[in-house]
């Protein structure tokens, strides 16, 4: 056992990780919470967490796990150091990232993710007075638009690829979740005056050294919308790389877990978006369950099962409403780069037989992002499943790879 070992180590200090920390600490476990961002809260609460790190729990921010050399041990790296962590139980709350789809011009500077743009704005990117088109799919677009409006950006329009019929069905279904309905109405109300176009999506981003306009498509018509930024994301995908490295079985929508949020590997739990995209409420309850179970108090988790079931039904409805339409598979043209790290065009990739063949023959997915961007795109475009995961699960410095020796501080 390494020098610094905890009863429960939690990877990811977003809602699920914070909820897990709270319940595990309440059971008396020694808890270490780790996040790769400089602050807790995850992407959704970025910098303004609505759950505190429990007193007594340890926290390391700005650190990411790059290897798991043996059961119970993790190697981590920060901006300027590396260290090892030991755990008896591990909770993976690694969250989700956006799915980006390649279309001509999507690699131009100032074309960003939807959540990505909000994250960068919250990190200090000046957006006041900037013309922004928000596009892609999912409830995230509305939340991003609301943030941008509130902070002085000139929101040009929101382009949602889902059809109006799908959205109406979804909104009606929300009445079974009155709280959510209120949230949705509130969002829409504040956005009054902004165009929210369903069945609409970007087909090209135009510009020289940076974005100047975006070409949108809707119902057989295309037009150019001048803008400074395109904030575009097509839903979320779970960050399953670390769980996969640890040997956790993956299901259709994320890491597979049992009723106590335990993965296929004994002693390793998963909670939140990494088990399947489900939103804030589901993440919180999954985190709480995982925290109790990992701290050896599974009976405290049982009363939470019904709430989790309710939130899962909501997540399933969300998934149906914002399913990506087939036409989006035609977005990339022959010369559109799909792998941004290695600059591999779609034409070269789609002739390959699968993910591994593409990696070997074209270097697609072999760059620093390790396929995190193009992998999710190709999963949708060509139905390719990601390849196996190998350490380091994030690019790490040579010095770190030889094995960290410092305890965390």
């Amino acid at each position: 056992m390494p020098e610094s070992a905890y009863d429960v180590v939690i990877i990811g200090a977003g809602p699920a990780g914070l909820a897990a920390a709270r319940s595990a600490a309440a059971c008396g476990a020694t808890v270490m919470l780790v996040d790769d961002n400089p602050q807790t809260g995850g992407q959704i609460w970025r910098g303004e967490p609505r759950l505190a790190v429990p007193s007594g729990a340890s926290l390391v921010c700005g650190a990411r796990v790059f290897a798991a050399p043996a059961p119970g041990r993790l190697w981590l790296e920060t901006f300027d150091r590396d260290f090892e962590l030991g755990y008896r139980r591990l909770i993976l709350a690694t969250g989700a990232r956006e799915r980006f789809l390649p279309f001509p011009g999507w690699t131009l500077p100032n074309v960003m993710g939807a959540g990505g743009f909000e994250a960068l704005a919250k990190s200090g990117l000046p957006i006041r007075g900037k013309r922004v088109v928000v596009a892609g799919s999912g409830p995230l677009l509305l939340a991003v638009a609301r943030y941008l409006r509130a902070h002085g950006a000139e929101l040009r329009l929101i382009a949602e690829q889902a059809s109006r019929a799908a959205l109406v069905r979804f909104t009606l279904g929300l009445s079974r979740h009155p709280g959510k309905l209120w949230e949705a109405v509130q969002l829409r109300a504040r956005l009054l005056g902004t165009r929210y176009l369903s069945a609409c999506w970007p087909i090209a981003a135009d510009g020289g050294a940076r974005l100047e306009s975006v070409t949108l498509y809707r119902a057989g018509r295309t037009w150019r919308e001048p803008c400074d930024y395109l904030a575009c994301g097509f839903g979320l995908v779970p960050n399953v790389e670390l769980p996969a490295l640890l040997g956790c079985r993956l299901g259709a929508s994320g890491v597979a877990v049992d009723e106590y949020q335990q993965t296929s590997v004994a002693g390793i739990y998963a909670a939140g978006e990494v088990t399947g995209i489900g939103g804030l409420d589901l993440s919180l309850v999954e985190g709480e369950i995982a925290g109790f179970a990992a701290a050896g108090k599974p009976d405290s988790a049982r009363p939470l099962f019904s709430a989790r079931e309710r939130h899962r039904r909501f997540a399933a409805a969300l998934d149906r409403a914002f399913a990506l339409r087939e036409e989006l598979k035609n977005l990339p043209q022959d010369d559109t780069l799909v792998c941004r790290c290695e600059d591999v065009a779609f034409e070269r990739i789609r002739r390959r037989s699968g993910w591994r063949d593409a990696k070997l023959q074209t270097r697609c997915g072999m760059g620093p992002c390790q396929g995190r961007v193009c992998g999710a795109a190709l999963e949708f475009l060509l139905g390719w499943k990601p390849d196996s995961v190998r350490p380091p699960v994030f690019p790490a410095r040579i010095a770190s790879l030889s094995g960290p020796r410092c305890p965390p501080r």
Partner: protein
């Protein structure tokens, strides 16, 4: 505690609010292309959360720093690769 931080981006002095990430400082310096791709295309941040590696810059001589995840510090020297 000071409310702003001063650092340099490609040799140009930039002032940002305390807590801002390096990505914000680069943008504040008027730079939208943070780096060049392997075939020489201009690139800027995409994901904002440390996944895509498009925002990487050199900080105090340390290469490949994801500027969206590292807070600015006073006197930092940031070098883009565009």
């Amino acid at each position: 505690m000071a409310e702003t931080i001063q650092l340099s981006v490609d040799g140009v002095s930039v002032t940002v609010p305390r807590g801002a990430m390096i990505s914000a400082a680069v943008a504040a310096a008027g730079v939208s292309a943070f780096r060049k791709s392997v075939t020489g295309e201009p690139r800027g941040p995409l994901c904002g959360m440390g996944i895509c590696f498009e925002c990487r810059v050199t900080v105090n001589g340390r290469a490949h720093v994801r500027s969206c995840q590292v807070p600015c510090e006073s006197g930092m020297e940031v070098q883009t690769d565009a």
